[in-house]
């Protein structure tokens, strides 16, 4: 899902950069107002933790593997989609500049996909489903699944607009692959949040209560 340089023309990359910068500015404002500026170090260290979490290989099928994106996880735990934008922006910058995982001219598009879309879809799906089902595992699972699938579809649309991949084939390929990866992301996110709400319920800022008997 990390689009590299060359797959999106420079002018489209510039548009994505501008849109992403608006959301990054909003995330910075959220960090100042909602978290208080002093808590920035905490989020920064957490970003390093999310980066490490992404290094765990998750078995998919036939020997293939995937890894956690973590947008929904950050948004649900910290109680805001802007937390996901802030954290994933830091992670994506490091991945692009140090590892070449995702491009420089398309960094804006990658921030929009994984940070903005992933964060908002993950957070509001979780909130909406929690209101309806009252079930933390179900809500977290679908939030994480959609936060993996929708950004992948957005990525396919961006590449179609760029003219580097056809729309239907892109949507089908990216959709199927990330729908499967999303199931793994969903299960693992449920396990992670279950553990956190059990071990450190004070960390969770979303109304999720520790499981009974924990």
């Amino acid at each position: 899902m990390h689009i590299p340089d060359a797959f999106i023309p420079i002018w489209q990359g510039a548009i994505y950069w501008i849109i992403a910068l608006v959301f990054v500015a909003l995330a910075l404002r959220w960090a100042r107002n909602e978290m208080s500026e002093e808590k920035l170090p905490l989020v920064a260290v957490l970003a390093a933790g999310i980066f490490a979490l992404q290094s765990f290989n998750l078995p998919v099928s036939m020997g293939t593997s995937g890894h956690l994106v973590g947008g929904a996880l950050a948004a649900i735990i910290l109680g805001s989609p802007f937390a996901a934008i802030f954290i994933l922006t830091l992670v994506l910058i490091v991945q692009a500049i140090l590892f070449g995982d995702g491009g420089i001219t398309v960094l804006g598009a990658n921030i929009i996909n994984m940070g903005v879309i992933g964060g908002f879809v993950g957070f509001y799906t979780f909130r909406g489903l929690m209101g309806v089902t009252k079930s933390m595992p179900v809500s977290v699972f679908f939030a994480a699944w959609l936060a993996c699938l929708i950004p992948a579809l957005a990525c396919a649309v961006e590449m179609y607009v760029a003219g580097t991949f056809p729309l239907i084939e892109g949507l089908v390929a990216m959709g199927i692959y990330h729908a499967i990866i999303g199931i793994i992301e969903g299960f693992v996110t449920v396990a992670v949040i279950y553990l956190i709400t059990t071990a450190r319920p004070d960390l969770v800022d979303t109304g999720v209560k520790a499981p009974a008997g924990a």
């Binding site: 590299p4 208080s36 170090p41 989020v43 830091l90 693992v188 396990a191 992670v192 553990l195």
Partner: protein, 275 residues
Amino acid sequence: MIEELFQIERDAYKDSPVHRLDARVKIVIAFAAIIALVAVPYSPMIYTVGAVFFLFFALLWCFTGLSPVIYARRALAIIPLWGVIIFFQIFLKNKYYTTYDVIMSLPFGINIYAQSVEFAFILLVKFVVCISFIILLSTTTKMPDMLEGGARMGLPAEFALALGMMIRYLFVFGYMFRKMNETLKTKCFDAFDRKLSYRYRLRQLGFTMGTMFIRSYEQGERVYTSMLCRGYGRESYLFVERKPIKRPEWAFLSLSLAFIIAIPIIVWLGQFSIF
């Protein structure tokens, strides 16, 4: 990726004329080369521009004193995934060509088009050369230097501070990741072992990752508390010492930028091709 982190840092701490260059010079040159390459239209002229840029990269790499194997290893870690997508281009039509000539027909109505093969090569050249400049930048620049370079070039204070802290703790979590992996191995746990139920494997991985999340959060809390003890507050900012770029560095930067801007223009205006 996290295993690569340690190797990158080891390479960045070596000494060479390229390593000693100011981080700002390297950042500007790498970004300028990438932007110039991406800005070149999807046309065969990229073969010439890409080849000249790659020679420029290769020349700089020679001065780093690093083995080409290091470059090859890092490039091979990045290229395969998107290489597959580039490969599939040969079967697809896109908006950059109006006519398509079939050069090979395969079963199930799949065709390979001459124009699509050309487009795949164009993408491959752009992609590989862009990646090369990122590899050059990251293997010759220490992370703190890169951050200071960014801060001197106007990176917002909050971001510079947050990125600085993140980079510092990447290694802490890198070691933690290694330890956790070793612990899982010690317990003979293999996430890819089909004898274990899938649900069990995912739960174990989820709990391991949850533990790491909690430890990173607690580390963040400790860092925050210790920073408060040292007077950190709303008015705090990352102090970055002023460091003027030296004259030889200015000269190198100016020449490199002139080269990076001139090559695509010359190739485009003169329809010049070395192929």
